[in-house]
C-alpha cells in the first residue's frame, strides 16, 4: 500500500498535523494545482472567504475528533461517562455518594422486660426532616428489670443519615446475567452507595429471599443468591444477577424488590445530643412486612412497636460528614490501585486505598503499617521517647488492641485513621478518635478481603499540638512557654492595610495550613512563613515572648504531645513527623489575640517599630540560625 493518497501529494499521516491554517494552505495549494481559480491566494477574494470557512469547520471537527479519541484513553479521559466505562474493563466500580454516619449509645428503660430482642433493619429516628436509620438488624439482650445500657448495639452499629426507600418492583425476564437499573424516585436526592438491599420474590415458592452483594457474580456458586452492583456512566445503579453457573439465575416472573437509603440532605451533619429525646420508629410497608417475615432467621425475635418505645438512643459525638461520589480524578487515581490489588488486601498500600475508598465519609486521613514498623515507630516512641515501662498498657494502645487483636502481634496490620470530625480546636474531645462502632464496621468490612493471616488493628494517632514558642537557653521547656509567646507581624512601610484585617488573614493562613495536614506530614515552617510573607502588607514575621524581652526572626514553633509533655520540641526549621503523629495548631480560636501587628518606620541600621498601643520597640537584628536547626538570639 502506497504511503500517499492516490490524488494528493500528501503523506497518509498528514492529518495528524492539520490545523485550520495548514488546511487552508493545503486547499490553496490544491486549487493552485487544479488551476480553475487563481484568487484563492488573495485574502480579499470570495474564494479565500470560502476556504477560511471550510478550513475552520474542519479544524473544529478535527478538534472534537481528537477530543473523542483522547476520551477513550484512560489517562486522557475527562468526562465521567467515559472514565466510568473505561474502568469497567478493570472491573472497577466507581464509588457513589456516601451518606453521613452517626455513632450512638443505646439504653433501655425498666419498662422493657428482660429478654433477647432485635431492632429490625431500617428502623429510624427523625427530627426536623433529618432522618437517621439503622441499616441492619441490631440484636441485644436485656438482663434486668431496671434501666439498662445496651452497649452491644452502640458498639456494633452506626446510624446512617437518610431514609430507606422502597423501589418499585421489577419483573425478571429470566435472562443470563440479568441487569436491572435503580431509578430513584426523585433526582435531587442521593442514594448511599453502600446501602442498597435486594430481595427477590420467587415466582415458584411465593417467598422473598435476600440477595447478598458481592464484588463480582463470577466468583459465586450456581445457587448463591447474590448480586453485583455498579454505579454506571449515567450515575444510576445497576443490579446484575448470575447465570445459574456463577450466581443464581433469576426465573421468569420473579419479582425484584430493592430498598435504598436515600439521603435527604447531603450537608446534614448533626451535632452531639441530636438523638436525645427522639423516639425510634420502625420502617413498615406491606411489602417489607412480608419480606421481614420471609427472611426472618429462626432465632431472632424482632422488637415490637410497644417495646421499641422503651429503647432510646443518645449521641455525644457529632455525625461524620457525607462523602461525595468519586470524581473523574478520584477514579483515575484509585482504579489502577484497585486493579493492582485485585480486590485483595495484601500490601499496606492495598489497605490504605481500601480505607480511603470505602470509608471516605468517616476518615480524613489514614496510614497503614505492618508490625515491624509499629514496633520500630509507635511502640519505640512510647517506650523510649516517652519513657513508658509498659507501652502496650498505654490507654489508647490498650483501647485499640483489646477488642480486635489476637495474642500474637506478628501479623498485625496497624491502621491509623483520623476521623473526619477531628476538630482542630479540641485536644481531648472524643471526636478525635474513631468510635468503637466505626472501628468495628471497618474491621468487618476488611475481613472479607484481607489475607487470612493478617490481623488488622485500628489505631488512634498520637495527636500533637503546635504553637508559637521561643525560649532562652536553660529554660524549662513546657507548653507554658507557648502561652507566653506571640507572633509579631511587621507591616510593610506605609502599608495602608487595616490591622485587624491583616491579623485575620494571618490567622486564616495558619488555620488553612494546619487543616490540610496529614498523618506523618512534614510540618513545613518555611512554607508557612512564605505564605504569611506573601500576604499583602506583611514585611517580616517574628516570634516574641510576652513575659521577657526576647524576640527571634521568623516563626519558631513548639510541637508537643499534650498527654506526655516530655515530647516537646522547639524549632524554626521544618519537622518531619513520624507516621503515627498528627499535628494540629494549639488553641487556634485564640490565635487572633496572639498576633501583634507592628507599624514600620524607616531607620538607618535597625528599623524602629511602633507597637499598636503606642509603645516603641527596637527589633534586634542579631538573630543567627545555626546549622543544627535551632534558633539562637543574641541580646
Amino acid at each position: 500500500m502506497t504511503d500517499e493518497f492516490s490524488d494528493y501529494s500528501l503523506p497518509s499521516t498528514a492529518y495528524t498535523t492539520f490545523d485550520a491554517e495548514s488546511l487552508k494552505q493545503v486547499i490553496i495549494q490544491r486549487l493552485r494545482d487544479e488551476g480553475s481559480f487563481t484568487d484563492q491566494v488573495y485574502e480579499g477574494s470570495n474564494m479565500s472567504a470560502f476556504i477560511d470557512v471550510i478550513a475552520y469547520s474542519y479544524h473544529i471537527l478535527m478538534y472534537y475528533l481528537n477530543r473523542t479519541s483522547a476520551e477513550s484513553i484512560f489517562s486522557e479521559s475527562t468526562i465521567y461517562e467515559n472514565i466510568n466505562r473505561i474502568v469497567k474493563l478493570l472491573n472497577y466500580s466507581p464509588i457513589g455518594y456516601q451518606t453521613s454516619t452517626l455513632s450512638f449509645d443505646a439504653n433501655s428503660t425498666d419498662e422493657l422486660p428482660p429478654g433477647p430482642y432485635t431492632i429490625p433493619r431500617y428502623t429510624y429516628v427523625r427530627s426536623n426532616d433529618i432522618t437517621y436509620s439503622f441499616v441492619k438488624d441490631a440484636s441485644f439482650t436485656k438482663n434486668t428489670q431496671l434501666n439498662e445500657p445496651l452497649p452491644i448495639v452502640g458498639k456494633q452499629h452506626l446510624l446512617f443519615e437518610g431514609e430507606w426507600t422502597e423501589h418499585r418492583p421489577m419483573l425478571a425476564f429470566g435472562e443470563e446475567f440479568e441487569i436491572h437499573q435503580i431509578i430513584p424516585s426523585s433526582t435531587d436526592s442521593n442514594i448511599d452507595h453502600f446501602n442498597i438491599h435486594v430481595y427477590v420474590l420467587d415466582s415458584q415458592t411465593g417467598k422473598y429471599y435476600e440477595y447478598t452483594e458481592v464484588p463480582s457474580v463470577y466468583v459465586a456458586g450456581p445457587e448463591d443468591r447474590v448480586f453485583e452492583k455498579r454505579l454506571n456512566e449515567t450515575r444510576s445503579y445497576e443490579i446484575k444477577f448470575g447465570n445459574g453457573v456463577t450466581g443464581a439465575r433469576l426465573q421468569p416472573g420473579d419479582q425484584i424488590q430493592t430498598y435504598y437509603l436515600k439521603s435527604t440532605n447531603d450537608k446534614t451533619v448533626v451535632g452531639p445530643d441530636f438523638l436525645n429525646d427522639l423516639k425510634l420508629a420502625m420502617y413498615s410497608t406491606p411489602t417489607f412486612s412480608k419480606i421481614r417475615q420471609d427472611t426472618q432467621p429462626e432465632n431472632i425475635k424482632y422488637i415490637n412497636f410497644d417495646e421499641i418505645q422503651s429503647v432510646y438512643l443518645t449521641n455525644d459525638r457529632r455525625a461524620e460528614a457525607s462523602q461525595p461520589a468519586e470524581t473523574v480524578e478520584d477514579i483515575k487515581e484509585k482504579a489502577p490501585l484497585f486493579f493492582t490489588s485485585r480486590d485483595r488486601l495484601v500490601t499496606t498500600n492495598d489497605y490504605q486505598t481500601y480505607m480511603q475508598r470505602n470509608f471516605g465519609n468517616v476518615i480524613k486521613d489514614t496510614i497503614v503499617v505492618q508490625n515491624l514498623d509499629f514496633v520500630d515507630g509507635h511502640l519505640k516512641y512510647l517506650s523510649e521517647d516517652i519513657g513508658l515501662s509498659y507501652p502496650n498498657l498505654e490507654s489508647r494502645v490498650m483501647h485499640n488492641h483489646l477488642p480486635f487483636a489476637s495474642t500474637t502481634t506478628y501479623n498485625n496490620i496497624y491502621i491509623y485513621a483520623v476521623p473526619s470530625t477531628e476538630e482542630i480546636m479540641s485536644t481531648t474531645s472524643a471526636s478525635r478518635f474513631l468510635s468503637e462502632a466505626q472501628k468495628k464496621a471497618m474491621i468487618t468490612s476488611i475481613e472479607s478481603n484481607k489475607m487470612i493471616s493478617h490481623e488488622p488493628v485500628m489505631m488512634d494517632p498520637v495527636y500533637m499540638l503546635a504553637g508559637p514558642c521561643v525560649s532562652v537557653p536553660g529554660e524549662t521547656q513546657s507548653p507554658e512557654l507557648v502561652n507566653n509567646t506571640n507572633i509579631k507581624v511587621v507591616k510593610t512601610l506605609r502599608s495602608s492595610r487595616d490591622t485587624d484585617a491583616l491579623k485575620q488573614e494571618v490567622v486564616e493562613t495558619i488555620y488553612t495550613y494546619f487543616t490540610t495536614v496529614k498523618l506523618g506530614q512534614l510540618v513545613n515552617i518555611r512554607e508557612l512563613v512564605d505564605n504569611i510573607l506573601n500576604i499583602q502588607g506583611v514585611d517580616t514575621i517574628n516570634t516574641c515572648r510576652t513575659d521577657i524581652d526576647m524576640e527571634t526572626e521568623g516563626l519558631s514553633l513548639a510541637v508537643w504531645n499534650p498527654v506526655y509533655q516530655t515530647d516537646f520540641t522547639i524549632t524554626s526549621q521544618n519537622i518531619e513527623l513520624p507516621y503515627y503523629k498528627y499535628v494540629t495548631f494549639n488553641d487556634i480560636s485564640n490565635l487572633f489575640n496572639k498576633i501583634e501587628i507592628i507599624e514600620t518606620t524607616a531607620n538607618s541600621n535597625n528599623y524602629t517599630v511602633t507597637a499598636q498601643p503606642g509603645s516603641t520597640t527596637t527589633v534586634p537584628n542579631t538573630t543567627n540560625i545555626d546549622t543544627t536547626g535551632t534558633t539562637n538570639t543574641s541580646y
Binding site: 494545482d33 487544479e34 488551476g35 481559480f37 487563481t38 484568487d39 480579499g44 470570495n46 474564494m47
Partner: protein, 164 residues
C-alpha cells in the same frame, strides 16, 4: 488551465482560458454556459458562476470595504470597518479619515492594484459619503479605472465603474 491531475480533470470548473484572475462570484450563481448533460440525461448541469479579471478584483475590493476586522475566521485583521465612520459627525474631517482608511485598506490587502486617487465627499444633508476611487491594474494593463461608490446608512456599495 487544467492540470493532468486525475481529480482535477474530473471535477474542475470550465473557465475562460484567456483570463488572468478567476474567483467565484459573490452570490454563488449558476454560470449561464451549460457544462454538459448529466449522467442520466435530461437535465443540464451548470458550474458556479466565475468572476474574471476586473470582476475578481472588484470582489476583493468590495470584501475589503464591507468586512469588519474579526469577521474573517482565519484572518481577523482583514477588512476595514467603513461603516464605523457613519457614527462620526458627517464632515470634511471624517471624509478625509475615511479616504485614508480606504487607501490603507487597498494597499494592505489588494496588491494587484495601485491607487491613484481616493476622493470622498461628505454629503451632510443625507449623512452619506460619495466615494470616487481611481486605480490602476498593471497586471491587466488597465491604466485607470474609476469606481463610484456610496457609504450611507445601508452600508457600502459600488455604483458605477469607468475604464480607460
Amino acid at each position: 488551465m487544467i492540470t493532468n491531475n486525475k481529480f482535477a480533470k474530473s471535477v474542475g470548473v470550465k473557465v475562460k482560458d484567456n483570463s488572468k484572475y478567476r474567483d467565484i462570484a459573490m452570490d454563488l450563481q449558476q454560470d449561464d454556459a451549460p457544462r454538459g448533460t448529466s449522467l442520466h440525461g435530461g437535465t443540464t448541469n451548470h458550474d458556479i458562476k466565475v468572476s474574471y479579471d476586473e470582476g475578481a478584483i472588484m470582489n476583493s475590493l468590495r470584501n475589503i470595504f464591507t468586512t469588519t476586522p474579526g469577521e474573517k475566521v482565519l484572518n481577523p485583521s482583514f477588512g476595514v470597518n467603513l461603516t464605523r465612520w457613519l457614527f462620526e459627525p458627517c464632515n470634511d474631517f471624517t471624509a478625509r479619515e475615511l479616504a485614508e482608511t480606504i487607501l490603507a485598506g487597498i494597499e494592505t490587502f489588494e496588491p494587484r492594484v495601485s491607487v491613484k486617487t481616493v476622493q470622498v465627499i461628505a454629503n451632510k444633508m443625507q449623512n452619506e459619503y460619495i466615494i470616487k476611487l481611481v486605480i490602476t491594474i498593471p497586471s491587466l494593463s488597465i491604466i485607470e479605472k474609476t469606481y463610484d461608490a456610496i457609504l450611507n446608512q445601508p452600508g457600502f456599495d459600488f455604483l458605477t465603474e469607468t475604464t480607460l
